[in-house]
């Protein structure tokens, strides 16, 4: 049973990644696409943090007292700190563009925009 | 030993309140009643759980931290519910009196 649990995180990563990808590809609404995009990125963060976990370890903050304490891997966590802020920045920029599209086209549905901007 | 039993009781009670609040939010017919049920979880449920955990932690730095969290929750929980209800009222959702009573009075 434990064997499956070991990979459960990666399966959830795959599922959420693909749900996000589906939202981006299949949904017409631009804001729904941005939501899908941030879900896509969150899934990747989950994958990195899963691979940083070590069995029976605590967060990589050195406790002065305890001697034989093992810590989980700090490197992926650093990468994810950076990636989260990248995700937020992309979403913020995307939303600014959606606001401008709403003012320019009056709609944020992809089909209407395509019709409006002609062939 | 006594502390453990006490914290177990408090935690189970807290859990029960949260469960009731959840079911209430689902079953209630309209917005205001549903919010009434949800606020139940917010106040009593959280107090019980946090106090239960504090018993578990015993006298240490963590207890003080838990205390501050409890105070923070007590401050923000009801305010949030009030703000929600106020906004609903402003945006025009009329609170609906009891159905039959509504009939007899109109």
């Amino acid at each position: 049973m434990l064997e499956i649990l070991g990979y459960y995180n990666y399966w959830v990563f795959a599922l959420v990644l693909m749900i996000g990808f589906y939202a981006v590809v299949a949904r017409g609404n631009l804001i729904k696409k941005l939501l899908g995009l941030s879900m896509l990125q969150s899934a990747v963060f989950l994958m990195y943090i899963t691979l940083s976990k070590v069995e029976g370890a605590t967060a990589p903050i050195l406790q002065k007292g305890v001697e034989d304490q093992i810590y989980s891997n700090p490197l992926p966590q650093v990468l994810i700190l950076t990636a989260i802020v990248v995700g937020v920045s992309t979403t913020a920029l995307g939303l600014a563009i959606v606001v401008r599209i709403k003012e320019a086209y009056g709609t944020i549905e992809e089909q209407d925009i395509l019709k409006a901007s002609g062939p | 030993m006594l502390l453990d039993i006490l914290s177990w009781i408090l935690l189970c009670l807290g859990g029960g309140f949260v469960l009731v609040g959840g079911i209430g939010a689902l079953r209630m017919p309209n917005f205001y009643t549903r919010m009434h049920a949800a606020s139940l979880t917010d106040s009593t449920g959280s107090i019980l759980i946090v106090v239960g955990v504090m018993c578990q932690a015993g006298l240490s730095l963590a207890t003080i931290k838990l205390l501050t969290i409890l105070i923070f929750l007590l401050l923000t929980g009801p305010t949030a519910t009030y703000a929600l209800a106020n906004a609903a009222l402003l945006s025009g959702m009329k609170p609906q009196a009891d159905t039959d009573e509504g009939r007899s009075s109109s």
Partner: protein, 324 residues
């Protein structure tokens, strides 16, 4: 036992994700997205990533939801039901899921210490930080010093996003300015209770923000989280007291100065390292004793990051808020 708890949370996560995709109403979708971020933060905490959990909560749940709501106020609320082409993307997506799951069997199991990822670079950080930089929180050490160049890039990503939003939204709105009901611009003026509670809470939020900023070396914390927390504090103040009040508290020019100042501070620390004889972003030359130099460097650049992130998030919020 913790694994069972994790499995429960992860399943909840997947359900929230599906719910976000399926709902038609965008406000509901944004709220579900906030719940999704919170669940993600708890998951990170279970997987021993304290810093990342704090960031995900502060930046992911807090600021993103605020920006999404700001944008929703300006655009549509209801999504048009999907009409065509649902099956092809669904098929492609499911095939990819199966491929990833198939590949995951060769990867090392969750948390097994023997995995190559934990053999090569990570142990060096764990041992050498005490000796070189001597601060407990290794994540901040790696973030600020070992991979300081990444974080410099990171600061400039936020800088680019801030420029982008201000550049895009500096165009006067095309449609005539709707006559705004006065209460909105002056915040929830006549909502006494939220204002009182707000006025009580805001100073504590700032205090907590500063604590996170300067506590970064010892416990989970650092520039990004602190910037986000302070920004959320000011946004709460803006919502309660009205945007005009928030603007004269921190005017636009100060915000612009904060964004540029923070980025320049970070850069200048790096250049100082270069001038004093080390390589770019080398803090050990900042002080006679390299360890103190490293700590000084880390505090300075964390401050730079905090200022930039706070300035950027606020200017983005103001750009959205003054739009409608």
């Amino acid at each position: 036992m913790i694994i069972v708890f994790a499995v429960f949370l992860l399943t909840l996560l997947v359900l929230t994700a599906v719910a976000v995709v399926r709902t038609e109403n965008l406000f509901v979708a944004v709220m579900l997205m906030a719940i999704f971020s919170l669940l993600m933060a708890t998951n990170f905490f279970i997987l021993d990533a304290a810093d990342v959990a704090l960031t995900e909560a502060a930046v992911g749940a807090g600021v993103t939801t605020v920006i999404f709501l700001g944008a929703l106020a300006l655009t549509a609320e209801q999504e048009k039901p999907i009409v065509s082409g649902r099956w092809l993307p669904l098929a492609v997506v499911s095939v990819t899921v199966l491929v990833i799951i198939y590949a995951s069997f060769d990867q090392p199991r969750l948390g097994d210490p023997g995995a190559p990822a934990h053999q090569h670079v990570a142990p060096w950080y764990l041992e050498k930080t005490a000796e070189f930089i001597d601060i407990p929180n290794i994540v901040t050490a790696v973030l600020a010093s070992y991979r300081g160049y990444d974080t410099l890039g990171e600061v400039f990503v936020v800088f680019a996003a801030c420029i982008g939003v201000l550049f895009l939204l500096s165009v006067p709105p095309v449609k005539p300015q709707k006559s705004k009901s006065s209460d909105n611009s002056s915040g929830l003026r006549h909502h006494l209770i939220p204002q009182v509670v707000g006025r009580l809470l805001v100073p504590f939020i700032f205090l907590f923000g500063l604590y996170v900023q300067f506590h970064g070396e010892y416990g989970p914390g650092g520039g990004f989280q602190a910037g986000a927390i302070i920004a959320t504090g000011i946004i709460l103040y803006a919502l309660l007291e009205g945007e005009a009040a928030a603007l004269n508290a921190i005017p636009k020019s100060v915000l612009m100065a904060m964004v540029c100042g923070g980025a320049m501070l970070y850069g200048m620390v790096g250049v100082a390292g270069m001038i004093l004889g080390g390589n770019f972003l080398d803090y050990s030359v900042l002080h006679s004793d390299p360890v103190i130099g490293q700590q000084m460097g880390i505090i300075l650049i964390e401050a730079g990051v905090g200022i930039t992130v706070c300035g950027a998030l606020l200017s983005i919020f103001h750009a959205f808020a003054e739009r409608d």
